[in-house]
Amino acid sequence: MTDADTALLLARCQFAFTVSFHFIFPAFSIGLASYLAVIEALWLKTGNAAFLNLFRYWLKIFAIVFAMGVVSGIVMSYQFGTNWSVFSDRAGPIVGPLMAYEVLAAFFLEAGFLGVMLFGMERVGKGLHFAATLMVAAGTAISAFWILSVNSWMQTPTGWTINGQGQFVPAGSWLEIIFNPSFPYRLVHTVLAAYLTTALVVGGVGAWHLLKGRSSPEVRKMFSMAMWMATLVAPLQIVVGDLHGLNTMEHQPAKIMAIEGYFESYPDGAPWIMLGIPDDEAETVHYPIAFAKLGSLGLKHDMNASMPGLKTLPKRDRPPSEILFWSFRTIVALGFLMLALGMLSLLARLRKRLYDWRMLHRFALVMGPAGFVAVIAGWVTTEVGRQPWVIYHLLRTEDAVSPIATPGVGGSLIAFVLVYFSVFSAGALYILRLMGRPPHAGERGETRAPIRTAGITPSSALRGLRPGPETDGPEKNGPEGGGKER
């Protein structure tokens, strides 16, 4: 391996590491922001304090997730330049404006209203506070729109031409760039994944408290809402995933070949290789458990459709089946487990046993983190699957990297790994701690808003906002405790 190869590999590792870590947070905050908007709306509509308690309970968790998403996201916006400068130069005229739209239309919106959402309820009153929550939720969704448009354009580039400096520039219509062929599928699939991920977390937390015998109205509400999401969204997501797969089949067949372990071509119907051990070097799948013709049925919805294999491509143009085969099976397996959870909870609901069927609660608890595993496996599938290209069929990953040396990239990679693991593990621990306590009556929000010397908020706006007497000892972490400690 030459020095340049090592530097390239390290740069790829660093991007994969930082982007995977980053995506965990938006996958959660996109769903959680919408969930918070829904429970605040339900509170405003019904006046039921349980919704307010739930809102404040999840708001504290949201604040931590959001902060980690922001700081790990800033890293991404600079890493395109530090590590992938040739890509930035050549694709900047197209992906740059799309990402800048994400900043202008989404990041500012989220960040601008987050302060009011976290600390402002008593200052602006219920109505404006709800508006702020809606803005934050809208911001997360708009952010998904633009960044997935960028990613999809890199997967299925349309509407471009090359200028005199070798840059990709718009050929005419920006709509053709934004709404490139894989974008609608990827957007819907990713946003549903975020909702499902959040629902599984919320459901897992609810299940934990139900198992612990803390069956309060708040706990029952969160569990029930989460299970509705699993019941409704899991099957929908499987259908959308299938459509996304058909779209990939059309535009990036090599990705599908690697996913399915098709090294050979199958002119009259490909098998479905359920399990086996793909071997890119030997160009085969060892110990396959395969079902004749089912592959073509699944991929092309026709048993006898022909299916070309990876051997039709030069070796340097193939994505690694050894990774994709497994990442894809991880998604499918988890997807069906989510479906099972949704269906079982529906059954329990119909039999009026939703809150006391312990097997269901255990299952929901175990499935709590499943969404994160699935979204990361999903991104591994789509990103590794477009290799060796960074812009599909147009720019190779190896040609997109910055002129950087091994020690530098190696050093930064080590630093990122150390910082991410220590800081974000601490964050995960704090989140788990918050989740480990049940929501209770008189739940407090973010507890340390700055306060003015003179209040001007009309008292009518505050009705129903004052939390009850504080009962939760360990949660006394606001400024009032700060002066006395030590």
Partner: protein
């Protein structure tokens, strides 16, 4: 109309907005260990907690906007400044999470407070180094960075790094004068009195050194018509500094912050005069680095509509959290 010039001003505006808003925010982090543990630290944190996130978004706009409007500059500058930028990103992680984590873990609050301080000062120092290295010039070969791994490190860049630390710390102290009262405000006034001379000294040193790091700057500043600006500049800096100094003792609580921003504004204009119309001084002009017209226009439509809106709701958010930060926080 030449959209390249429009975009140069938009990027400059984003950078200025970042300095105005995140400067005080990082500055409070720099001053943090000088505050006694307890109420004063909590108050200082609360003076920025609702807004830090929006403030930092301007940094993302600076980076993202540069990629969109001047992709070649983005592609050359970022690899050239790999080490300081990476250090800045890691530092921002520590200080960003500290806002949440210090409240969530009373036993390790000291640790996250230290992270808040180290993150803030390291991010500021790295930003100053970035600026200094850019002003000194970046090696370009073809359409890529052509220099070495440690090119960014020089006496000049260390000086600009230290200057920015002094500058942000002054902004932080002035923000505390503005947002707090009582013992914390008194303390902040004391900090400001110490920091203002330090910043003035730093501005003086950087101004003296700049004409010598690159011959072009010398010509800019000491040939006609540059002299029209050169001569009043030191005078304006001294006047702003005097006004700031007087405001530490009397006048409204907002005045120190505004006069300190004035000093930053003058420095920013000076920087602009030195490098205009280059984006990589002496190597790449804004026109050479510019994205094609279609990209500039497409994004300008959005920026024209959204930036005023952003400024509007940002102002609203500051308005909601106006006034002094109390000692008791929420209740």
């Amino acid at each position: 109309m030449d959209l390249t010039i429009v975009w140069a001003f938009i990027i400059a505006f984003a950078v200025a907005a970042y300095v105005v808003m995140d400067g005080f925010d990082l500055g409070i982090g720099i001053l943090f260990p000088l505050l006694p543990v307890g109420t004063q630290r909590d108050q200082a944190m609360n003076a920025i907690a609702p807004v830090w996130d929006g403030n930092e978004t301007w940094l993302v706009l600076g980076g993202g906007g540069l990629l969109a409007a001047f992709p070649l500059a983005y592609a050359i500058i970022l690899p050239a400044l790999y080490a300081p930028l990476t250090a800045m990103l890691l530092a921002l992680i520590f200080r960003g999470v500290a806002f949440e984590f210090r409240w969530r873990d009373a036993r390790h609050r000291r640790f996250w407070d230290a992270g808040f301080f180290v993150g803030s000062i390291a991010a500021t120092f790295a930003q100053g180094i970035t600026l200094g290295a850019l002003v000194e010039g970046i090696e370009v070969s073809g359409r890529a960075y052509g220099g070495g791994w440690w090119d960014w490190l020089s006496g000049f860049s260390l000086l600009t790094g230290a200057s920015l630390v002094a500058g942000y710390a002054l902004l932080g102290a002035c923000w505390l004068i503005f947002k707090t009262e009582g013992p914390l405000q008194l303390r902040a006034r004391r900090f400001a009195r110490g920091l203002l001379p330090a910043l003035l000294g730093a501005i003086g040193l950087v101004s003296l050194a700049t004409p010598f790091v690159e011959r072009k700057y010398f010509e800019r500043w000491f040939d006609w018509p540059g002299m029209i600006v050169t001569f009043p500049m030191p005078l304006l800096v001294v006047l702003a500094a005097l006004a700031a100094w007087r405001s530490f003792d009397r006048g409204g609580d907002a005045a120190p912050f505004l006069w300190s921003l004035g000093l930053f504004g003058l420095s920013f204009v000076g920087l602009g005069i030195s490098i205009w119309p280059d984006v990589i001084p002496g190597r790449v002009s804004i026109w050479q680095a510019a994205a094609p017209y279609q990209s500039q226009l497409f994004l300008l439509i959005g920026a024209g509509a959204l930036i005023p809106l952003i400024l509007g709701y940002t102002a609203w958010s500051y308005w909601v959290f106006r006034g002094k930060v109390g000692e008791q926080g929420y209740h």
